[in-house]
């Protein structure tokens, strides 16, 4: 319609009326929007009442005001109403609001970027932006530098001197990014959009795993979902179209009735482009992260095996790209570290022990958080299992969903991944577990209303997931949060320390390495090396001497130690020393002749090693 058309002509009136009808909300829809809006408003107001300095060993929940909990309840109620109406726009709004109030707590509720590793990742991107190159000899990160090169590129292109403000918002940004491919996967598997959006919501409230910070794995998880979404939407084929041996025939027998959603039609140039896009994404994944590519190999291989991936050579393509990267691009790291990469292969018991057993220690509050995390994960897996059972009993089991939920588990046999592989497996399987769990509550018949029993069960699960999220996600917040004084302390450390100095931290929970990544020798702890330090040593003189010996450098170059509120919190939470060990150390070193206090504020103190004791232990 031309802008010169006379006002009030019939088509424009009809269009305006259609818009009015579209915008007009039914009473329940208006109630849903009102609940969500009220929840966000109350949530925003409650943020300023969080007393972060009073956190206990159970983390952020210990200082969340009542208003925050009420706002979470309001948003959950708004989501429930939206889901009952089954209106996609409203359900999407509910999911977006849930992301804001749950994942935004750590972003907008804290004055600085949380999580020490995020600061380190900023430092790697900063190094690449500053030097314009990657030095694989620095550490493992520089052998899989794709994400950091992207971060450096974005900061340069955007003209940012400091990428930290962008990195800080990563949990919000990444969780919002995960939803579209997840919904696309859901739409490829389930005809009922209530399953799809409930699955997306369960994913958001169960994703406490915390890999969605400024990290390669955070972005790679998105790319992993995109690859699977493309395969399932455009390349999953139809019943009876595949050929193959008994696994294919058995899978097709199971899948025949399950393919309620037809494959999205496409032209051959579209399919060809998508295949090339998938190959390029895989290259990006292989260049950015060590673990995700292997999950993609198992995921695409199992999908191909059950006949839900028409790009039959995709697992081989992924394996070749990953193998090629390992053998040629990551050689600098692999040489001398192969035992670290392959040492745990097949040792599932060791991996499980290091992933579960070693985490169940520390202060009582911390142990309670770890136990809650284990229970929450097991409950979700159990509900997902019931979902799979229900689908199977109704002859609607979707092999693609089942294999994708289970395909990350073989990673257990690869390596312990620093005691984190179970967490990563939980994350990689979460989208599919969430969809399976969602299917438990939705009737098999399209459009049929949800039974009262299902509603009650869903309400219980939803409340449990939302209420446990702050505990699961922010349970370690005492050490993951950094006060402005701590940031000031680290800045002072960089001001004081000359280039090439050796820098020690009380523990790894420190927001450092965000700049001058390769200019210093960094040590995350006073333990390790020839001179282990026992912070519980009752002899203060011996303790100071041991710390001085630990910090002594062979060439007498400057050596500094920083102790902050967060480094002290980490040893309080995880041990092995008694609570308050680092605060005591701070007092002891302040009085020791071996050290000089170079900087001090209420949350941080920087010590410079003044002289090395002559006596040895």
């Amino acid at each position: 319609m031309s802008a010169w058309a006379p006002a009030g002509d019939l088509p424009s009136i009809a269009r305006r009326r259609a818009w009015r009808e579209r915008l007009a909300l039914s009473r329940p829809a208006a109630a849903s929007v009102a609940l969500l809006a009220a929840g966000v408003a109350l949530w925003s107001l409650s943020l300023s009442h969080i007393r972060l300095d009073r956190m206990t060993d159970i983390g952020l929940p210990s200082v969340l005001p009542v208003g925050t909990w009420v706002s979470l309840a309001l948003v959950t109620a708004g989501c429930a109403v939206a889901w009952r109406l089954a209106e996609p726009a409203l359900m999407a709004l509910g999911v977006a609001t849930t992301i804001l109030v749950l994942h935004g707590l750590g972003v907008l509720g804290e004055p600085t970027m949380r999580f020490a590793t995020a600061w380190q990742h900023v430092g790697i991107a900063d190094y690449i932006a500053t030097h314009g190159s990657v030095d694989p000899s620095i550490d493992a990160y520089f052998n899989w530098p794709g994400f950091f090169i992207l971060g450096a590129f974005v900061s340069k292109v955007a003209g940012l001197h400091d990428i930290e403000p962008v990195a800080r918002a990563a949990p919000l940004f990444l969780n919002a990014l995960y939803v579209p491919p997840l919904v696309s996967i859901g739409q490829s598997l389930f005809a009922d959009r209530r399953v799809v959006w409930l699955g997306a919501w369960i994913f958001v409230v169960a994703n406490w795993i915390g890999q969605d910070y400024f990290s390669p794995q955070g972005l790679n998880f998105f790319m992993y979902l995109v690859v699977l979404a493309i395969v399932l939407r455009w390349f999953r084929g139809g019943p009876g179209r595949e050929r193959g041996g008994w696994p294919w025939r058995a899978a097709r027998a199971l899948a025949g009735r399950a393919r309620a959603v037809p494959e999205t039609t496409s032209t051959w140039p579209q399919r060809a482009t998508l295949i090339v896009v998938v190959a390029l994404i895989v290259l990006g994944i292989a260049a950015s992260h060590q673990l995700t590519p292997f999950a993609l190999i198992t995921g695409t291989a199992t999908l191909t095996l059950v006949g839900w991936c028409r790009i039959r050579t995709l697992p081989v393509i992924v394996a070749l790209i990953v193998g090629g990267w390992l053998a040629y691009m990551a050689v600098t790291y692999l040489v001398g570290h192969v035992h670290l990469v392959t040492g745990d292969v097949g040792a599932v018991d060791v991996t499980v022990g290091s992933n579960v057993g070693r985490r169940l220690h520390g202060s009582p509050g911390h142990q309670a958080i770890v136990e809650l995390r284990v229970v929450s994960t097991l409950v979700l897996w159990a509900v997902a299992g019931l979902g799979f059972l229900r689908l199977a009993r109704g002859g609607r089991l979707i092999p693609a969903l089942a294999v994708l939920a289970l395909s990350p588990f073989p990673l257990l046999g690869l390596q312990s991944y620093g005691g984190e592989v179970l967490l990563r497996i939980a994350l990689l399987s979460l989208p599919f577990m969430a969809l399976a769990a969602a299917s438990l509550f939705v009737p098999a018949e399209a459009g049929a209303s949800v039974s009262r029993v299902a509603w009650t069960a869903l309400a219980c699960l939803g409340v449990a997931l939302v209420a446990s999220f702050p505990f699961n996600r922010y349970g370690n917040e005492r050490m993951d949060y950094f006060s402005p004084d701590e940031i000031a302390g680290v800045r002072a450390l960089y001001r004081i320390a000359p280039q090439g100095a050796t820098l020690f931290a009380g523990s790894a929970a420190l927001p450092w390495r965000y700049t001058k990544y390769a200019d210093y020798y960094y040590y995350d702890s006073l333990t390790g090396g020839d001179a282990d330090v026992n912070l519980d040593d009752p002899d203060q003189r011996r303790l100071a001497r041991d710390v001085a010996l630990r910090m002594a450098t062979p060439d007498r170059s400057p050596s500094l130690l920083i102790i902050t509120r967060s480094t002290a919190a980490q040893t309080d939470l995880f041990g092995p020393w008694r609570e308050g060990a680092q605060l005591r150390l701070r007092r002891v070193l302040s009085r020791s002749p071996y050290f000089r206090v170079a900087y001090r504020n209420p949350d941080a103190v920087v010590f410079v090693l003044r002289r090395v004791p002559r006596e040895r232990r």
Binding site: W268, R271, A272, I275, V276, A279, R310, I311, R312, T313, L314, V316, I317, A319, L320, I321, G323, G324, L326, A327, Y328, V331, L334, V335, V338, T342
Partner: protein, 71 residues
């Protein structure tokens, strides 16, 4: 055998380049094979054979190389 032959008969730079290019070549051939399926609706026997041949050689090369790195 092929690797040993080229290693002993071709100068280091050329044979190195040849083996370095094997993995990308295998990937390109496999991707091209899948694009061909998208275009014609069926696999090209020639492309498939070339793709799998290059893949087998590339995987063998990667295996040998990773084993050498492990030592």
């Amino acid at each position: 055998m092929l690797a040993a032959f080229t290693w002993s008969h071709v100068d280091r730079a050329t044979s190195g380049a040849l083996w370095y290019s094997l993995v990308p070549l295998a990937v390109v051939l496999l991707v091209t094979g899948e694009v061909w399926v998208a275009y014609r609706g069926a696999r090209s026997v020639t492309l498939s054979m070339l793709g799998w041949l290059a893949t087998a050689a590339a995987l063998a090369l990667l295996g040998v190389r990773l084993a050498a790195l492990a030592r």
